[in-house]
Symmetry: C2
Subunit: 226 residues, 2 copies
Amino acid sequence: MLVWERPEPPDRPVPAPLSRERIVRAAIQLADVDGLDAVSLRKVAAALDVGPMRLYGYIATKEELLDLMVDTVHAEIRPTGNGWREVLRSLAETTRQAAHQHEWLADLIGGRPQLGPNTLASGEAVLAAMGGADLDTVVPAVAAVNAYVTGAVRREITERRAERATGMDKKQWQATFGPYLQRTFATGRFPALATVVRDGPHLDADQTFWTGLDFLLDGIEARISS
Amino acid sequence: MLVWERPEPPDRPVPAPLSRERIVRAAIQLADVDGLDAVSLRKVAAALDVGPMRLYGYIATKEELLDLMVDTVHAEIRPTGNGWREVLRSLAETTRQAAHQHEWLADLIGGRPQLGPNTLASGEAVLAAMGGADLDTVVPAVAAVNAYVTGAVRREITERRAERATGMDKKQWQATFGPYLQRTFATGRFPALATVVRDGPHLDADQTFWTGLDFLLDGIEARISS
DNA sequence: TATCAGTCAATACACTGTATCACGCCCAAC
DNA sequence: GTTGGGCGTGATACAGTGTATTGACTGATA
């Protein structure tokens, strides 16, 4: 058949250049905007103009993609400071900031073993800056701070979401859950809780986070210096 | 048509009596045995010999079922003791034990606002046993312990799963990840980490959990007594 | 030029949470 | 006693998920 009557080959699009980095960036953006549930392999692939199965050349499973996402944001967690106390505070602060920028981090943090390069680099930065302090104290101290930050960040983001879900500000939140709590407190089954809610301090997120961390650092300090 | 020729009504099974409690118990058992991913409304319903849609008479959404599960295990978290320190230790210990019995708790803890009766009762038990200590310190102290326990439990369960996934015991784990870590440490990019892994203390899960908690409690004690 | 390896898209499958719908029962009103 | 209507129940339906498989097409090699 002559060239002239033979149709041109279908204009197959040049395959989009792909990489783990591009995939993870797309996934992170999806998660930042619409939450972790919005991260499906199909949506990530669509964001990259690519068939879903294409991703499996770069990752073996969706869990691996999540691991890569977590490791990627760990690039933003680079504690610095003079002295172990400043360093640990910085670790806590940068982790918290990362969770503020990427709320989905609260869903994943502490939930998978993290051995990626950025996560290791964070750990390296911490340990390197801790000075020559006694390893027998330093290791559990870092572990404790990490545990505290994990839990604190989770609670904080959870609370923030609850507020947002009920309509944006704290007043609305109280208007939604207030009546329920009022009724349950009225049963008299939780007298101590009721007093705390009525008379106790109402700390904001910042205060709660930092005073809790200071408790922990004070306790560590007592062991390190002794 | 005469009765005799009319067929008997189909032997429709007497509808299984249902309740939130039965539903939640079934869901918890599924999660205990096969993990949280095994909890689907269809499987829960099947375990109760019931159509999936039937559950929606008792819960509005799957998230609510998860909330009920979490609140139910909080029934096992009833801290006791003399003095605030014992109480907070007991809070940490019972929470940790609950997570050991129900590993899926590590996936959910801290991830949703908890206002169920059992959770409130746990909080009540803590506050009631804290004595008359200054609320301005007690409230953040309880919050800090909760945050620490959340993070610590998550890490511990995560580690346990990783070990189990690679074949049951610690030696196997090292055999699996060891080579990778060896190679990455050999690059020289993480000298401080490498020294810690080589020369640092190798604490078991119990030690890590308790020494971290003691840091925190020491720090709290300094504020409470002053 | 013919074969082969390898890459990529499409299809397929089992499964999810939940909306909708239609049937059959019980109860209330006539 | 009959009839109608709500309602709880089960079946069906739908859109979406992660991933296995297949089948077409490419460029490289013999």
